[in-house]
């Protein structure tokens, strides 16, 4: 049990680091979804089933969907990341 919990923490933290470091914005959005999903799995393992389901559907699914819908509406130039 303990190991499962700790195992879920790895994608959570690694994914979060990836979100803030990855260059491409679209990948960052997808990675954010991965982080949310790992959080949902973590909630599941911890026994907070209500939270897990809500996190999976609302926090992961819908938030990513909203991100992607607004992504589609951004002008081409805005999607690029400036190189500093």
């Amino acid at each position: 049990m303990t190991w499962i919990i700790l195992l879920v923490c790895i994608p959570l933290v690694v994914g979060a680091v990836a979100v803030v470091t990855v260059r491409d914005l679209l990948s960052a959005i997808i990675l954010e979804g991965v982080v949310s999903l790992s959080a949902a799995v973590l909630f599941l393992v911890l026994g907070a089933l209500d939270v897990a389901i809500t996190q999976a559907v609302v926090g992961c699914g819908l938030t990513t969907a909203v991100f992607l819908y607004s992504w589609r509406r951004l002008p081409e130039k805005a999607r690029e990341v400036s190189h500093d």
């Binding site: 938030t63 607004s70 509406r73």
Partner: protein
């Protein structure tokens, strides 16, 4: 140091990574993502405050007995986290609308300090 502490540290590091994301970049979309990370971290932390090894799903079934300790995960933080997740979705939606406005008026998502508004004390 046990498993609770390790999970709590991951939750707190999510909070810290979000802060780093806010601080290191200028991109509005990345800011929104970073705030999302902070919220996720806090939600995990909050659920964890009600957890202990062996905690069960807080639904009353046959095996529940009124005497003795309640074998459940503390349901109050779970209820708070439900609220916080939905609030997070709301603020994210609004922030994305602002990001679209920004892209519309500046053609980019890089949010520099406005030279017009950067004056005294800013």
């Amino acid at each position: 140091m046990n498993v609770v502490h390790l999970v709590a540290i991951s939750a707190l590091s999510l909070f810290g990574i979000g802060l780093y994301g806010l601080w290191s970049g200028r991109n509005v979309l990345r800011w929104i993502l970073a705030v999302g990370l902070m919220e996720t971290g806090i939600n995990v932390f909050l659920v964890l405050t009600g957890w202990y090894p062996g905690a069960r799903v807080p639904i009353i079934t046959e095996s529940f007995s009124t005497s003795g300790p309640v074998p459940f995960l503390d349901p109050v933080p779970s209820a708070l986290v439900l609220t916080s997740i939905v609030i997070g979705l709301g603020t994210t939606t609004l922030a994305l609308a602002l990001a679209i406005l920004h892209a519309r008026s500046h053609g980019t998502l890089e949010c520099e300090a406005d030279p017009e508004t950067a004056e005294v004390l800013e």
